[in-house]
Subunit: 217 residues, 2 copies
Amino acid sequence: MPARQPSKPRARRPRSQARPYHHGDLRRVLIDAALQLAAEGAEVSVREAARRAAVSPGAPFRHFPNRDALMAAAAEEAQRRFRAEIEAALSEAPATNPLARFRAFGLAYLRWAMRNPAHFEIISTGRYFVHGSSAELTRDNAELIALTEGILAEAAGQGLLRSADLKRIQIAGRALVYGFARMNLDGHLPRWGVEAGEIERMAEGVLDLFIAGIAKP
Amino acid sequence: MPARQPSKPRARRPRSQARPYHHGDLRRVLIDAALQLAAEGAEVSVREAARRAAVSPGAPFRHFPNRDALMAAAAEEAQRRFRAEIEAALSEAPATNPLARFRAFGLAYLRWAMRNPAHFEIISTGRYFVHGSSAELTRDNAELIALTEGILAEAAGQGLLRSADLKRIQIAGRALVYGFARMNLDGHLPRWGVEAGEIERMAEGVLDLFIAGIAKP
DNA sequence: TCCGTTATGTAATCATCGATTACATTTCGA
DNA sequence: TCGAAATGTAATCGATGATTACATAACGGA
């Protein structure tokens, strides 16, 4: 093992440096940089995030043990925004109409995924950090799922559904919105036209088709 | 630009080397190594593929201009297998029952995706190589899509569908199977039990739920 | 107010990877 | 048979994630 060189004394920075030695809230800035990089379609690297924060390449590792931890923190932040939007939509939906609530949930899900594709990917794919490494993300996700289960149970209670197999309906519904969101992400949706809202309208149509299919005629 | 060193003459390999200088079909071996690496869940790197082929790190670049090209070739191979399985399933399905054919298509799709998750990912995600860089992949995919459109048109012609919006049905169906496959891939499906076939049965159930939803009652 | 402990950033260094280039060897057809 | 084309090797580059030694700032108790 080659011993590290004693290294000659390093030049001190002049005391009049513009930026203070301490950054302020580097952790937060790094998370935002990671999300911004993702949103721009760029590859997210620790070094690039450090560069954006105008900090040395090693500095981020004071706040995150490794790259995965940074990505997990970014995912948690994205998930918070995602969940906030869904809950806002649900709070405006009629409290006593389960199918309308189901629709509001799905629509908010799809809209957010269409408008924040890169962030949706970070949340959903195990690509950016080890799967299940974030307890917060796991719990948060489980709560959203429980929410849809509750809504479906209500719908079944009011006799609105054709099938009694709620688990199956729930998985199918999830697969539908997840699939649509990922098709958009992976470039599998036809380019319907120049108008931006067209994809969202198709998303809405697909959701309505599904709901019509599970609803009692 | 620092000129390259003249480099002292290299030692020649003894003529009695075990492996011949030329590999035989390195291109093919590299593609298989890439697919195998993916299937093992390992990260696919050109170097590792070269290592598996017992070849120098630079050798692959004689057959592929860059990493993306190797991955694209691997994707084309995987897509061929995928498509072959779907066409086999369709050839066994009743020729005159569009909904049964639709179901056979979806089931073959889901089964292959469940059993070859990593290969499905290589095919579907633009992660491994630049999107649309493989004309073969694009064309192949378009043909599969056209196949489902034809089946749906037949079903509509026989008056089997509740809705006349075939485009919407087609996208919804695609989102459903794509979403289920990706949920499996991304670890979003509950671990129903030890038995392996359980996920495939749920896939089948979800597919049937969808078909029941679009079929005229 | 001083001082030492802790938090936080820097500089240097390493291994790995994709990629390129110069060179060596084999293959194959004119 | 001989020379060009194909194919592999070795050396090297720049970028990246990661680790370590060190420097500096921040903060709280005596």
